[in-house]
Amino acid sequence: MAATEQDILESVSKIINEITGIPASEVTPEKSFVDDLDIDSLSMVEIAVAAQDEFGVEIPDDQLKNLKTVKDVLNFIQN
């Protein structure tokens, strides 16, 4: 059974919480990593690496910089 968007959001929130300490409940799809969550470019790399381990989807650095919001990451993982 394919993971639903809600499942992916939960996993991504957990990853972000582990790397940055931001409460998982604050990680919602419309949030911007830089403006709302104050996550820097190095933490984004750590999140991308953890997401790759979790979902088997590689997010290269040149794609990573285009992922501005949590929703962008969810879409990237689903596609």
């Binding site: 820097d40 470019s41 190095l42 790399v45 690496v49 650095d61 990573l64």
Partner: protein, 318 residues
């Protein structure tokens, strides 16, 4: 033809270091570029760094650090048969630094060559020194990591200028009845050669920060674990983990994955900055001086940087 008997082991007999006196704080940097103490500390973990004076060369710093290590070893200069300087920031193409430094230290006509494996250079030089001692190619070897990154950095570029610094560290390597330097695990990733570069003599140091960060936080802990495994040492037995002082977040990420619970992790970068090939002997020498590590304990040293190159081995702290 005959060859000498292989010595049972090589050992670090003594360490020494040198830092230029000029301290540059994060607040000092805010005067020339758009940055802040908070920004720098959260990205790279550095509070201050040392910057050499205009007239102070790589060779000058290497000579002081090497002289201190030699003095601490108790050896006389004529007992050293080989001098290796690991550096990637020499001002001159030729001569190399090692012959110049050896001469200044009164070491009479040793073998002398420089190693360029960027920030991994010290571990490459250490492995080479250990092999030379064991094979009978040299009785004792002076290994020095020395860098003047400040002259290759664009001091208006906050992505690099906040990181790099100047300094030197040195080790004297000699023979031993029991192994004091474990087998080296080394390698390279030339497919990522463009990630860190100084293209030519008029260029500044360029670094793709995210690419390097991703590589360093994912590819290196297996190297660290293999260096332990090849030396027959469990990470829990390590008294110290001294990785290249690249970025505090890289250091902590590798340390976490290494699982060396009892090891003191070198965080010399906080006050010394990233000094490339000098950072490992500089950090270990300072930790020893401050009493943070004890003689006889096992330390894992792990260099990594431009090339990309990496090398690591377990050593007994002198």
């Amino acid at each position: 033809m005959r060859i000498p008997d292989i010595a049972p082991g090589g050992r670090v007999l003594a360490l020494g270091h040198y830092q230029p006196p000029n301290i540059v704080t994060n607040d000092d940097l805010t005067k020339t570029m758009d940055t802040s103490d908070e920004w720098i500390q959260s990205r790279v973990g550095i509070q201050q760094r040392r910057v050499a004076g205009k007239e102070e060369s790589v060779e000058d710093m290497a000579t002081i650090a090497g002289g201190k290590a030699l003095a601490a070893s108790g050896l006389s200069p004529d007992e050293v048969d080989l001098v290796i300087v690991a550096t990637c920031t020499l001002e001159s193409q030729i001569p190399n630094a090692s012959a110049v430094v050896a001469h200044r230290l009164g070491i009479n006509s040793p073998g002398a060559f420089d190693v360029n494996a960027a920030c991994a250079g010290f571990c490459y030089a250490l492995a080479t020194a250990s092999a030379a001692v064991r094979a009978g190619s040299a009785r004792n070897v002076l290994v020095i990591g020395a860098e003047k990154l400040s002259q290759w950095v664009d001091w208006t570029d906050r992505s690099t200028a906040v990181i790099f610094a100047d300094g030197a560290g040195a080790a004297v390597v000699g023979p031993s009845d029991t192994p004091g330097i474990g087998p080296v695990v080394w390698g390279s990733a030339g497919d990522k050669s463009e990630a860190i570069s100084i293209e030519d003599r008029t260029s500044f140091l360029y670094q793709e920060g995210q690419t390097v960060f991703r590589w360093a936080t994912t590819a290196l802990h297996p190297v660290a674990l293999e260096a332990c495994s090849r030396a027959g040492v469990d990470p829990s037995e390590l008294a110290a983990f001294v990785p290249h002082q690249a970025n505090l977040r890289i250091i902590e990420a590798i340390a976490r994955k290494l699982g060396a619970d009892k090891a003191v992790v070198a965080r010399d970068i906080v006050t010394a900055g990233n000094t490339s090939a000098a950072s490992i002997p500089l950090a270990l020498s300072r930790m020893l001086e401050r009493g943070e590590v004890r003689s006889g304990g096992l330390a894992l040293v792990l260099g990594f940087g431009a090339g990309l190159t990496y090398a690591g081995q377990v050593i007994e702290i002198p």
